[in-house]
């Protein structure tokens, strides 16, 4: 392990956390430097995460904090799922923080950057931890920083959304804590692997109470229907750079936590039909609500609900293909939705309105941003040759693989959702390029710091969409890791 000292998963959490606390100090030296700290932090994280990733595909890295052997002490479990998501978080964080350099110029700038770092630290912590209480702590870091960031603009709607989010999020956190407390009371351990081992042999049905509380608690952040009512307000009121991270990272991390709890700790298999139906409902309700929106950010937020539904559906198939498809869809959604929010951010900034109708003629005004936006929508709808198609392909394949009638019907409904999604996204594209009288506006392109992240995201979307094999190499081990509870327990407890 010596040569891997730089490749320590702990760094992924420690560096951004440390930088977050450094910001107030560095802020005394220079105001400008503060903006670049998240960029540096996540660049580092991205590089480290991508370097670690190949190592964990065969064998996960178990980090024993303070040298305590599990189940004592806290351990990190850097498996393929964790590292896949950690890389995704770091890359998205990196790109969004470049975007924020110019985008966030008003208000409590320093605090924004601190909270942004903390938010993604929390997210990274959630996906890497192997301890259930630790999960709660990171989860709280994630949630609390997002409450604050939603209210960052200080507008009335932002504050209102933030309070609503806070209320619902706190209920979620308390439910989660109740669940964890019940488990701790029953088994006397907080280590996920240890819990899993004991629950396998535990036949009393009372353990389900804690599961239900945990799922409900985590489900709120994961935006599963009907727990997602906070999302449209919060995602649309936040600054666009925050919305990108909330939609692209936060809810997916919440969903990861749900999946981890279900698959690894409780290993329930007969619960999934319920989740499948829930996923399809989430898709339909998300997409249908998005269809009627006039506000672009609300539309994107509702579309996130639809996408989350699709991911829930994919995971609930609980086969190798299904889980891999769900993870893939997470990746595509993160890339696509982050891109859409980033583009929408400057479109709104230039037009001064979030109304879709005000986007008329923006294709002439901001050609590159509009093009990126178009590619983002194509990917989200699932049109080839973009990444959304590849992930949707995988999910449909998983749904049709075992020939169950229920799955076939449900995937049909999911595809109906896709058609609705296509309809409203295509309408926006028409608004951007073709609606209104033909005007020759001056060009007012987004600044370079915004264009770079957008173009990088576009290139990811196209490259992964054309060569999904690149990511498939990570998805397959990741899916088997989630499905193989025994191996998880074995690799932690030895």
């Amino acid at each position: 392990m010596n040569e891997m000292s730089i490749l320590d998963p702990v760094l992924l959490i420690a560096i951004p956390l440390g930088l977050a606390f450094l910001i107030p100090l560095l802020g005394l030296v220079s105001k400008k430097i503060v903006r670049w700290i998240p960029v540096v932090g996540f660049l580092f994280n991205g590089i480290v995460a991508l370097l670690i990733l190949p190592h964990v595909l065969k064998q996960p890295i178990i980090v024993k904090i303070g040298g305590f052997v599990p189940p004592f002490g806290i351990n990190l479990y850097a498996g393929s799922v964790g590292m896949l998501l950690a890389s995704l978080i770091a890359i998205t964080g990196f790109l969004v923080s470049i975007y924020a350099v110019k985008y966030i110029t008003k208000g409590a700038e320093q605090k924004y950057h601190i909270l942004f770092l903390l938010l993604l630290t929390g997210a990274t912590g959630v996906v890497l931890t192997g301890d259930i209480f630790n999960l709660f702590v990171f989860f709280e870091i994630l949630c609390i920083s997002s409450y604050a960031l939603v209210a960052y603009l200080g507008t009335r709607s932002g504050l209102e959304a933030s309070i609503k989010y806070l209320i619902q999020g706190s209920i979620g956190s308390s439910f989660l804590l109740i669940g964890i407390g019940l488990l701790y009371g029953q088994f006397g351990t907080l280590n996920m692997a240890d819990l899993a081992r004991q629950i396998v042999d535990y036949t009393e049905p009372s353990v389900f109470v804690s599961m239900v509380f945990m799922i409900t608690g985590l489900g709120i952040e994961a935006a599963i229907f009907p727990l997602n009512a906070w999302l449209p307000d919060a995602h649309s009121s936040a600054p666009s750079s925050v919305s990108a991270v909330l939609s692209g990272i936060a809810i997916e991390v919440g969903l990861y936590a749900v999946i981890r709890v279900l698959f690894t700790i409780f290993a329930v298999s007969n619960f999934f039909i319920f989740f499948m139906v829930l996923g399809v409902l989430t898709v339909l309700i998300g997409e249908m609500s998005a269809f009627a929106q006039k506000n672009i950010k609300r539309m994107l937020a509702y579309s996130s609900i639809g996408q989350i539904g699709l991911i829930v559906f994919a995971f609930s198939i609980s086969t190798q293909l299904g889980v891999a498809g769900g993870l893939f869809q997470m990746v595509s959604h993160t890339l696509g939705k982050a891109l859409l929010f980033l583009c929408a951010g400057y479109m709104i900034f230039r037009t001064g309105s979030m109304e879709i109708s005000s986007l008329e003629g923006i294709g002439k005004k901001m050609p590159i941003t509009a093009l990126c936006f178009t590619i983002g929508t194509f990917s989200i709808v699932g049109l080839p040759p973009f990444t959304g198609f590849a992930s949707k392909f995988m999910i449909i394949r998983a749904a049709l693989a075992n020939g169950e009638l229920l799955l076939q019907i449900l995937i049909g409904l999911v595809l109906v959702g896709t058609i609705i999604e296509g309809a409203y996204f295509f309408k926006i594209i028409q608004t951007i390029y073709f609606k209104g009288a033909h005007k020759t506006d001056n060009r007012e392109e987004a600044p370079v710091t915004a264009l770079i992240p957008m173009l990088i995201l576009v290139s990811f979307i196209i490259v992964i969409g054309m060569f999904p094999n690149i990511i498939d190499k990570v998805l397959q081990p990741a899916a088997s890791e989630l499905l193989d509870q025994v191996k998880y327990i074995g690799s932690v407890l030895g």
Partner: protein
């Protein structure tokens, strides 16, 4: 010349054209034209080449491949040649329009995607190309703004429904046979159950039926054709819609196989018979709806649907003769409908976007080339002997008569009758009759627009007199489907059941024309009068007070309009409105009150607990 190069050239050419447009528009036009001409050259150099190549394994390790065979070549050459003509035409037509770089980029991208569709050797690359074609078409339909926007949405939503069906079909094939390569699927198909084959036929028929605008899946087409820029309407009607025919051939005769798809079900209720009847309905109703149109492009669009019906009838009938007729009609239709759209486009160009049949007329002296195109185009459309449409229609009629399907034959004849009535209106109201005063000094048709019209007009005659030229490669295609070959000569088809020899007809007509000419020579000379020298009931008509072309067929209108409503369009509109209504109400779940949201959370928890208590799922 290899296939990879062809595909790379097609897609790369589209991108480079866009970039060239950033430098100068002249460069772009020339580059686009060179690209499309080069594609014609490459594809024609691949005549009779049969090859398969694997492009790459990057898509989940599935081998994405390209293959060239008689069917692919036939469609490929039609695509690239029509594309070249349309690009040439666009050079003048699209001048002074906005976003021309974008227009050329999309036009070439669509052509590249169509080329990739017909060349794809597996279903995944087929689907990918199909989708690229669909979304780029959407982007180009929306180009004209205003009325084009709803047309674009209508198109893309129906197209998405189709592609979702196809995606399910493709993935189900992949899970069933563990392969996506078409040639391997063919072998596996023998082991599949009849029910599964029927499922595949139906689900793919929805996709291709939407694309080929078979009633009742046709409703996207009239608006999309009418609102697109005219050169693109030509591509849309000529080749893009006919990707549906390609798809039908692919699923029926290549993948599922003729021996299966023609024996699916019993008696009347067999797959191909129902398809043929849908084709017949597609011929009759849209053709008569076409008669009611006052928009030149809408009129052509409805004929586009109707003519698609002939192809479907021919193909669904599933004999060598019928297939040859259906496929040949696809090609012929492409030629004359592109010609007609280009002619209408020329009028649009000269009259600043006018295409209303009530306000045009008498243009034949002002625009002789466009008139020639329109005249030969409608001759082809009707199927007048010595034009290409006659041959393919003859093949289809012959098939239906030989196949003892009098009702279908009657439907096709009825369609032709309706076609004659409605295209006469088209020709008359555009070119004949009185020239409205405001069109006295219209713009001249530029050369770049005249050349494609002339070439296509000649092609109509050449294929009408020498139908053997294309029928040879159609014959090769039919043989590859496992049918008995036809005896094709350069002049036509000979068989024991009926011989078609165009040279005989040609010579007879020549003689008849000569006789009539002689008679007219002997008769009294007619005197040439001015176009405005008109009389009605013995009195001179004041200029601009009377226009012959207004309310053409008015009595027929009153009679037929109640029966010729597009009920399917109304039905779909209703569904769309209902969906919108439902969406608007679903949204109200999110009330905005946080207390409601907390109730949702508690209810969810309660639901989970009670589910456990009741069914003990955990």
């Amino acid at each position: 010349m290899s296939l990879e190069l062809l595909i790379m050239f097609a897609f790369g050419g589209a991108f480079l054209t866009y970039l060239a447009g950033k430098i100068s528009s002249k460069l772009r036009d020339i580059f686009a034209l060179l690209c499309s001409v080069a594609l014609v050259v490459i594809v024609s150099s691949l005549y009779k080449v049969e090859t398969t190549i694997t492009l790459y394994n990057g898509f989940f390790g599935m081998p994405l491949s390209m293959r060239l065979n008689p069917m692919a070549w036939f469609f490929a050459i039609a695509i690239v040649s029509s594309s070249a003509l349309v690009v040439l035409y666009s050079m003048s037509y699209m001048k002074h329009r906005e976003r021309t770089d974008y227009y050329y980029f999309m036009l070439l991208l669509i052509n590249a995607a169509m080329l990739a569709i017909v060349l794809s050797g597996d279903l995944v690359s087929f689907f990918i190309s199909w989708e690229i074609m669909s979304w780029s078409t959407f982007l180009l339909i929306s180009y004209n703004r205003n009325a084009a926007l709803p047309a674009g949405i209508k198109y893309i939503v129906m197209s998405l429904i189709g592609s979702m069906c196809m995606l399910v079909g493709i993935i189900s094939i992949y899970t069933a046979f563990d392969t996506i390569t078409i040639s391997e699927i063919v072998q596996h198909m023998a082991t599949a159950t009849a029910g599964y084959k029927l499922f595949l036929l139906i689900i793919f028929s929805i996709t291709f039926g939407i694309k080929n605008a078979v009633v009742p899946l046709h409703t996207w087409l009239p608006d999309a054709y009418a609102e697109s820029p005219s050169p693109f309407s030509a591509v849309l009607s000529g080749m893009l819609t006919r990707m549906g025919i390609f798809g039908f051939l692919l699923i029926m005769f290549v993948m599922v196989g003729a021996e299966n798809s023609l024996h699916m079900g019993r008696g009347f209720f067999s797959y191909h018979n129902i398809l043929a009847w849908l084709g017949a309905i597609t011929i009759v109703i849209p053709t008569f709806i076409a008669m009611l149109q006052n928009d030149a492009k809408k009129l052509l669009a409805w004929h586009g649907i109707g003519q698609g019906g002939y192809m479907i009838v021919g193909i669904a009938f599933g004999t060598s003769l019928g297939l040859a007729g259906g496929i040949f009609h696809t090609l012929n239709h492409a030629i004359y409908i592109i010609l007609l759209f280009l002619s209408v486009g020329a009028i649009e160009y000269s009259t600043n976007g006018l295409r209303d049949l009530n306000s045009l007329g008498g243009l034949f002296k002002k625009m002789p080339i466009a008139f020639l195109g329109g005249l030969l185009g409608i001759c082809g459309l009707i199927g007048i002997p010595l034009t290409n449409g006659f041959v393919s229609k003859w093949l289809i009629y012959k098939t239906l008569i030989l196949g003892k399907a009098p009702f279908l034959a009657f439907a096709t004849l009825l369609g032709t009758w309706g076609t004659i009535l409605s295209v006469y209106k088209f020709l008359h109201n555009l070119y004949l009759g009185q020239l409205p005063q405001e069109h006295q000094n219209i713009k001249k048709t530029p050369l770049a627009m005249q050349i494609p019209i002339v070439i296509l007009s000649l092609t109509i005659l050449v294929f009408g007199i020498l139908p053997g030229l294309p029928l040879k490669s159609i014959n090769a295609m039919i043989v590859s489907f496992g049918f008995t070959p036809l005896t094709v000569s350069i002049w036509g088809i000979s068989s024991e059941t009926g011989t078609l020899n165009m040279i005989n007809i040609f010579s007879i007509l020549l003689v008849v024309v000569a006789i009539f000419w002689l008679i007219f020579q002997a008769a009294r000379k007619s005197t040439a009068v001015d176009q405005y020298d008109n009389y009605a009931a013995g009195a001179a008509i004041p200029k601009d007070k009377y226009n012959y072309t207004v309310e053409f067929y008015a009595p027929f209108y009153r009679m037929a309009t109640p029966y010729l409503r597009d009920i399917f369009d109304m039905l779909y509109q209703k569904i769309a409105r209902f969906t919108e209504f439902a969406c608007d109400n679903i949204r109200k779940i999110y009330t905005g009150y946080v207390s409601d949201y907390i109730i949702y959370i508690i209810l969810f928890l309660a639901l989970l607990i009670s589910a456990q208590l009741k069914w003990s799922v955990f």
